[in-house]
Structure formats: structure tokens, C-alpha cells
């Protein structure tokens, strides 16, 4: 048999056992990436001295080098760094004891944060400056304003690009075998090595990744709609009910009709 169709679907459950590894790496790396990306965005917006050029260098360097190179660099770089610390600072870290997943997380998070920071920065800058002033004028502190006003609005703006970044992250996890982590793709390669049905295996993997990204994209749309609270109509006031609409003045009616 040239191409074993049945195998493509039969072997899917076997590789799906490694789906949790893939998702764990993607979610954890995304979380670190968002925190780091947010900090980098704040540094750039506030133009913090010394840190701003450093952040610029980091973003430029990371966006200018391939993810595969970055994965290898962390895989060899972190042990090297630990060894260096042991020699110079007298620490006693186990150079060979670093769990492989750490390399994958560090590389993927650092890579993605460079992209996310730009999306987050643009979103924060896009939030209506007047609302920030309004928050200040009722006595809210900078942090309260950020948490209660800026972030909720910036999130709506940044969500589509951060969502794409997350989808990219899920697909990016397929490279972590270079750091000796066994994710879905790595597991698939090992399974295929037994019967040399590599093509069937990659077709199976492609189907799984595609379905995952479809689901994630769908969830993101739903989430975005939830965040845009004002586009969901008014509680107890359906815009289509003729009776209620009569009570609204023109401009309000026009706005709710659109909803």
C-alpha cells in the first residue's frame, strides 16, 4: 500500500497522548511571554532610561533571528551560563540537571514576547487618553487606572494579534524536540520510525494542529465578543422590541439598532 489512509486516523489517538505536553508548553510559554511583553511595552511607553534601549535591542535581536537558532542557543546557552556561574561565583548548580522543558519554555517565551510587546504597546497607546485623565480626575492612582481602565480596553484591541501569537506558539512547540522535549511532533517521529510511515504521521500531525488552531481561533472570537461588553445589547432591553425602542431618543435608538 502506497499510502495508508486508515493509519492516518488510527494513529491519531497515540499521538494525542502527547497533546497535554504541547498545550502545557504553549500555555506556560504564552503566560511568561505576556508578562515579559507587558513589561517591555511599559518600558517603551514610559521611556525608562537605560532599559528602553535594552528593550529595543532585545526586540530587534529576537525578531531578527530564527526560532530554531534561538532554541539551540538556549539549549546550549543555559548550561554554559550555569557553568560560568559555578566557576566565577562559587555556586553549585547541576549543569546537567536542567529539565529539558525549561529550555523550550525560555526560548519560546523570549521569542514570542518580542512580538507581543509591540502588539501590547500599540494597544495601550490606542486607549483613549481622555479616559485615563478621567480616571485620574476621580482620584485613581496610575496602577488603578492601568488595571481598571487601560488594560480592559487594551486587551480588546490587542486580542486579535495576541490570539495569532498564541496560535503561532502552538505551532512553534513542534520544534521543541531540538531541546530533547517529547511533544506531539517528537512522539510522532519516534512512532513513525518503527514502520517508516513518516508521510502518514505528518499528515496525522497536520490534521491535529489544524483542528487545535480552529478551536482556539473560535474560542478567541467568543472571548473577544465577551470583552466587547457594550456590543451585546442592554440587559432587559431588546433592541428589536418596538415598545421599548419608542422610549429611546433618536440617537440612542440608532445606536442600539446597530447592535
Amino acid at each position: 500500500m502506497l499510502f495508508d489512509f486508515g493509519l492516518v486516523f488510527r494513529q491519531i489517538p497515540k499521538i494525542l497522548k502527547y497533546l497535554p505536553v504541547t498545550l502545557e508548553i504553549a500555555v506556560a510559554a504564552m503566560a511568561f511571554s505576556l508578562i515579559l511583553g507587558f513589561l517591555v511595552a511599559l518600558i517603551k511607553i514610559k521611556r525608562v532610561r537605560v532599559l528602553t534601549p535594552l528593550a529595543g535591542f532585545y526586540v530587534s535581536f529576537t525578531r531578527g533571528t530564527p526560532i530554531l537558532v534561538q532554541l539551540y542557543a538556549t539549549y546550549y546557552g543555559i548550561p554554559f551560563f550555569l557553568q560560568f556561574c559555578n566557576a566565577k561565583l562559587g555556586t553549585d548548580w547541576n549543569v546537567n540537571g536542567v529539565p529539558p522543558i525549561v529550555f523550550a519554555l525560555v526560548a519560546l517565551a523570549l521569542n514570542d514576547a518580542a512580538y507581543s510587546s509591540e502588539a501590547i504597546r500599540a494597544a495601550i497607546v490606542a486607549v483613549d487618553r481622555g479616559q485615563v485623565e478621567a480616571a485620574h480626575s476621580i482620584g485613581m492612582t496610575t496602577w488603578q487606572t492601568l488595571r481598571r481602565v487601560v488594560i480592559p480596553e487594551a486587551l480588546v484591541i490587542a486580542l486579535p494579534s495576541l490570539g495569532n501569537a498564541f496560535i503561532g506558539m502552538i505551532k512553534g512547540t513542534s520544534l521543541v524536540f531540538v531541546c530533547a522535549v517529547v511533544d506531539m511532533t517528537a512522539a510522532g517521529r519516534m512512532l513513525a520510525a518503527r514502520n517508516f510511515r513518516y508521510f502518514e504521521m505528518y499528515v496525522s500531525l497536520a490534521i491535529i494542529y489544524w483542528v487545535i488552531t480552529l478551536v482556539v481561533a473560535r474560542l478567541l472570537v467568543v472571548w473577544e465578543r465577551r470583552l466587547r461588553r457594550d456590543a451585546r445589547g442592554v440587559k432587559g432591553l431588546a433592541p428589536t422590541e418596538g415598545g421599548t425602542r419608542d422610549e429611546l431618543d433618536d440617537s440612542t435608538a440608532r445606536l442600539t439598532q446597530k447592535v
Partner: protein, 253 residues
């Protein structure tokens, strides 16, 4: 009467332009001060310096007995000024993803740390007062301009500020909405709250203000009762400005 606001030598410069050239001003408790003048005369900047949305370069701001040195204001000073004043903006600036009720509750819950039940009761009362008791669950995008501005006034009132600062509150509204907003402002003034209003509504200013100042090029050119400043201005510049303002008013009518 108790002094509520006392400004001495307030200065502000943007790059090469000196916007405020040493403003001295006194507003008594319960008094309504109307600030008029051409665009670019420094009206809005004066108002915004009062709660440090613009940081003044020099001078002294005294609010209800506490003096703040503008050049060396501490974080606590700024917090004091902001907690005891509230600004109403020309473009409302309601929080987009919060309902009318949540907009009004925000300061009570976040700044004054009131429990949600009390904050909600207070906020519902205020929205009732500005005539929007039936719009509490509407989002800003579902309200007309006039309604948004009334929510914004309720949001400022919620914090029970010593002074309300109103920056051209009706400039972005259509003539019909203006009446509603002015009625609300009149109602707030009537309860004896100290107010500073920047506005081009000369009739309204003459009606509501106890004291009027005419600002020109960052200086107070005229000050006095509405009858003095609007009725019989002493300077040529003020006469010119008012003549034009009245002309546009009568044309619009």
C-alpha cells in the same frame, strides 16, 4: 465666606508658549466661577492645572486650607487635589466597557473603597438625579451625547468633591441636549457646591456664575460679577470678544 480655592502666581509653559502668566484667583466656598475667553487663552489649562492633569510650573494652589506648591508638589499633594476635585470633560470620557452605573460606581469602589451595595445605591440615586434612572445598564455607546455628559456629571458627583471643574461641558452637544445638561449643572450649583466652569455659553454663565473672569493670553484681563464682566467690560479686548460671542449667539437663535 470660607476660601475654597486660592491661586497665587500660577504659571504654565508649553515649550515656547507661556500659557498661564501668573494667575491669582480666589473662589469662596459655594461660589460658582465662570471662566471665559477665546480658544487658546489658557482657560482649559487653568482648569487642568487645578487637579494636575497638567503640571503647573510655578505658583501656589490652596484647596480648602491645604496649600500645594506647584513646583514641588508631592504625590500626596496631587492625590489630595484629585480626590477633592472632579473634572467634567468636553468629550465626556466615560469608560467604554462599563455601564452608566459602573461608570458612576468606579470612583466609589476603587478610590473610596466603599462596599459594592452602598456604592450601587448611591450611584443609582445620582443617575436618578440627572434623569437617567432608566439608563443604568446602558453602555456609553448606547447613550446620546447629552446622556453621556449627564452620566459623567454623576460620576464626578459620586465622589462628593469639594470643587467641580467643568471644561466646556456643552461644547460637543447639540442644542437640545445642551438644555438638559445645563439644567443638571444648575441643579448641582443650587445645592451650594463650589464650581469652576469654562464655557462659551454666555447666557448660562451670566445666569449661574457668582464671579466671572475673562482670560486673554494667559492673563486675567477682567474679573467681577457677571453683570460687570459680561455687561460692562472695562477693556477693549473683552468688549471685542463679547461682541463677537453675542453676535454668534443671536445668529444661532
Amino acid at each position: 465666606m470660607n476660601s475654597m480655592i486660592r491661586l497665587r502666581g500660577l504659571r504654565k509653559r508649553f515649550d515656547h508658549i507661556e500659557v498661564l502668566k501668573g494667575i491669582d484667583l480666589d473662589v469662596a466656598e459655594g461660589e460658582v466661577l465662570g471662566v471665559i475667553g477665546a480658544s487658546g487663552s489658557g482657560k482649559s489649562t487653568l482648569l487642568r492645572c487645578l487637579d494636575f492633569l497638567e503640571v503647573p510650573d510655578a505658583g501656589e494652589i490652596t484647596l480648602d486650607g491645604r496649600a500645594v506648591d506647584a513646583a514641588h508638589a508631592t504625590k500626596a499633594d496631587v492625590r489630595y487635589l484629585r480626590r477633592h476635585t472632579a473634572m467634567v470633560f468636553q468629550l465626556f470620557h466615560l469608560f467604554t466597557y462599563k455601564t452608566a452605573l459602573e461608570n458612576v460606581m468606579e470612583g466609589l469602589v476603587t478610590v473610596q473603597k466603599l462596599d459594592k451595595v452602598t456604592a450601587e445605591a448611591v450611584s443609582r440615586d445620582l443617575l436618578d438625579r440627572v434623569g437617567l434612572g432608566d439608563r443604568v445598564d446602558h453602555f456609553p455607546s448606547q447613550l446620546s451625547g447629552g446622556q453621556q455628559q449627564r452620566v459623567a456629571i454623576a460620576r464626578s458627583l459620586a465622589l462628593n468633591p469639594k470643587v467641580m471643574l467643568l471644561d466646556e461641558p456643552t461644547s460637543a452637544l447639540d442644542p437640545e441636549s445642551i438644555a438638559g445638561v445645563l439644567a443638571v449643572i444648575r441643579d448641582v450649583a443650587a445645592e451650594g457646591r463650589t464650581m469652576v466652569i469654562v464655557s462659551h455659553e454666555m447666557n448660562f454663565i451670566s445666569d449661574i456664575a457668582d464671579q466671572v473672569v475673562f482670560l486673554n493670553d494667559g492673563e486675567i484681563l477682567e474679573r467681577g460679577t457677571p453683570a460687570q464682566v459680561l455687561g460692562a467690560p472695562a477693556t477693549e479686548r473683552a468688549r471685542q470678544f463679547l461682541a463677537r460671542a453675542n453676535l454668534t449667539l443671536s445668529r444661532a437663535a
